[in-house]
Each structure stands twice: as structure tokens, then as C-alpha cells.
Subunit: 217 residues, 2 copies
DNA sequence: AATGAAAGTAGGGATTTCCCCCTTTCGGAA
DNA sequence: TTCCGAAAGGGGGAAATCCCTACTTTCATT
């Protein structure tokens, strides 16, 4: 049976040593290389291409986010498991956008690492509980923020219709044609909207609409 | 020891019966009520307030999304575990926005339900593996979409600066003040931007910028 | 040294937007 | 039935935006 080829990327030699020992308890994996920062890892890719990469995020020079992005760009089949010591929201988002398959804490249990490797190797994803909670909290906060500022004015059907058209980029004249109204009436609705939303011009109104989810991008 | 008060909401009596049996194997929970649709559940809340709700999503009249939204609004301490038979992305997003604490498939294993109850009861979250994968896939697709349409024009530093200011709602004059440029120069940069981005006016440019993540809301 | 891209400035004119002020119609609430 | 708000339509004028052309400077690459 072919072993799963794995590379470790972390700037602390001690951690790599410990982690290698940890992974050696799995007979089906083979550590084909190590790197102490993102640049070293990208160089390593020129000679050895792993199936799974355990990638630290905080690293000197080229960090885990940038290294992952570039690695995935060159080799779309590489699966990346992001490792972190702490829960940093900004990094979490960036790593997800960079195309990682899994995200877990360094101090996870042995069986969690095993689960992560198997899931990722079979085309799935793995996120440790703490990560999932963090993502969920983020959504909750977003929802709360929406509700708190929610003293949104009440819009009439016409106004909603016109906001939608404005947010598609149409000018007064075009909106008039599409709604079978006179351009002057459209202008009137718009200035009513300016008042209701405390905006000054069309651009402001568009930004307001997007911020308050009145229109979708 | 106080038992955890639970309510089941599902339009299929058969499912509720089966699920009640299932939950009865946990000695620490007490099912204080059932409802066959969202409206019935909201009425139930007037007399009995549970700690945890198992909420089906697809229901007649008032669906799970709307019922959850209203329940959380009235009783912010209620924890809702969304139940679904299938993986529907749209519903997933809506439920998350409605404020649910957990999201799992109806055909989950017994120990998964137990895990979900305990996590949620202790202020945490629970999402079954399939749900997490779905969310992750969504992110991946989003990332790919971004990359594919990525034939974005190259913007100069000035242009990026001006796009950012436009997207904050400033007019030509204000942008001129903030950048220490003449208003005419700002206009020039803007019309260059119109050409590069195939847009016709400021509103269009703003929409373009948001769509392509050139500015953040 | 030269070419060209990026940036800055400017004028003039067409077009659009914005801001008051005003009238009519219509349906629901007092 | 009266009254009010929403929707619709409009005029005039100020302001902002858009478009085109033209000139200067700077700076990097050839």
C-alpha cells in the first residue's frame, strides 16, 4: 500500500520533531520533507510534491497564508491542513480563502490528527470543534450587529423596487423606463430615500443598501 | 438534578414519536412539548419555554427559519438545534442567520444527538460533519469563482486610493481634499477607471468594486 | 538619451443629479 | 366623510458628474 506523502511546515524545529514522532505512529503516512518557513516550503515543492501539508500559519518571511495560496495555485491537488496555536479569526478567514482543507489547533489529540488526515485524504474537510465554534460565533455576532442597528426605516414597495434598480447600476432615466414612471418621479422617490436613510447622493444610498442587505451583490 | 427542557418541532407525527423515544434514552432530558409547525411552536412558547428546541426546517405555514428567528428574538436564551433531512445550502445559511446553535441531519447517530445537546446546553455549537463540509465547499467555490473571473485590470496606487474613497461615499471634491489633488485630477482618474472597468458612472464603479472585493463594506 | 507609462492640472460643454416647491389621485384610518 | 400618507407627475435652478482634449512632470526601462 502506498503511504500518504506528508510535508511539515513550521518555524520551530522542536515542534516539527515532536510532530514527526507523533505522525510516525501512523503506519500509513510518510513524511517526505520539512520546511521552516513558507519560502522554504515553496522551494521544496520544486523537487517533492506531497499529498498533504501540515502548515503553520505564523512564520517569518512568507507566512502560511501566502504559502498556501501559492502552493494550491501551482498544485491544486495538494491538501493543506492549517495548524495554529491560538484562535485568530482574521487568520482563520484568510486561510479558508487561501484554500485549506482543514484547520485545527496544534494541541489537538492524536486521534483528531488521524481523523483530519483521513478526511482530507479522501477529499473531505476537517475543522476542530473550537474552529467551528469560532465561525459560528462570528455568524452570531454578524446577526446581532444586524439586529442592533436594525432600526431600519420602512420602505414602500416602490422604494424597494427603485433601490433594487439603483443597486444594479441604472440611472434615473433607465429606472424611469423600467418602472414606467417619469424620470421626475424617480428623482422624487430617490430624494425621499435620501431622507429616510440619511444619505446625500446615489453612491451613498447604494453603499447604505449593500451594508443593510437591501440588495445583493 | 434539573432536567434539560426540550421541545420538538416537526410536521411529521411519526418523526416526533420516533425522536421522543430516542431522546428518552437520555435520563437528563425532559420533553416538555411538541409542535407540528412554526406557528404552533410560537404559541407553545407563551406557556412553556424550553431550553433547547429541535427544529425541523421544512414545515407548512411558518417554517423553521421564521419560527427560529422570532423565537430567538423573544427569548434570546433558547438554543435551537436545526434538523434537516437533506443538505440545502440556502436553508443552511438562512438558519445560521436566524440564530441557531446547531445544525444536523435527522439521520444522525444517537451519540451525535447527545453531543449536540451537551454542547449547545453549555453554550457551544454543534454542526455535523456533512454541514461543515458543505460550508467549506461553499468557501472553496467562492474562492474559485474569485480566481476565475480574476482577469481584473491592473490599478495604479492612485487609482486604488481613489476607488477606496469613492466606496466610502465621498464626492469628487471631497476626494480631492483628502488626496491633496485638484478636483479635475480626481475626475481624470475616475474616467480612467470607468474605461478600465467598463463602467459608465460612479454608481456602477462602486458596484464593480464591491463585487470584485476592491473595497469592503 | 529616449520612449512611454503614470500622475497631475486644466478648460469647456453636455448630461445628470440633487433640491425645493407644487398638483393630482387613491385608498385606508380617524 | 374627512383627512392623511403613498404614489405619481412636474418646473426651475444649482451643483455635481461625465467626457474630451491638451500640456507638464516624473520616473523607470530600453
Amino acid at each position: 500500500m502506498e503511504k500518504i506523502k506528508i510535508v511539515l511546515v513550521d518555524d520551530h524545529k522542536i515542534f516539527r520533531d515532536g510532530f514527526r514522532l507523533l505522525l510516525q505512529s501512523f503506519s500509513y503516512v510518510e513524511i517526505i520533507g520539512e520546511a521552516s518557513n513558507g519560502q522554504e516550503f515553496l522551494d521544496l515543492l520544486k523537487t517533492k510534491v506531497p499529498e498533504i501539508v501540515f502548515m503553520d500559519i505564523n512564520m517569518p518571511q512568507v507566512d502560511g497564508v501566502e504559502a498556501s495560496r501559492r502552493a494550491v495555485e501551482q498544485f491544486p491537488d495538494i491538501k493543506i491542513i492549517a495548524l495554529t496555536t491560538f484562535l485568530d479569526e482574521d487568520y482563520l478567514e484568510k486561510m479558508l480563502m487561501a484554500g485549506v482543507e482543514a484547520y485545527m489547533l496544534k494541541n489537538s489529540e492524536l486521534d483528531e490528527f488521524e481523523k483530519a488526515i483521513m478526511k482530507v485524504y479522501n477529499g473531505g474537510n476537517y475543522f476542530s470543534d473550537e474552529i467551528v465554534s469560532l465561525l459560528s460565533d462570528k455568524l452570531h455576532r454578524f446577526r446581532k450587529r444586524k439586529k442592533e442597528q436594525a432600526v431600519l426605516p420602512v420602505f414602500t414597495e416602490r422604494e424597494k423596487e427603485i433601490i433594487a434598480l439603483i443597486c444594479k447600476g441604472y440611472g434615473n432615466k433607465e429606472i424611469a423606463e423600467k418602472t414606467f414612471l417619469s424620470p421626475k418621479t424617480v428623482e422624487k422617490h430617490k430624494s425621499n430615500l435620501f431622507q429616510k436613510t440619511n444619505t446625500f447622493n446615489t453612491v451613498n444610498l447604494v453603499i447604505y443598501a449593500f451594508k443593510n442587505q437591501l440588495a445583493n451583490l
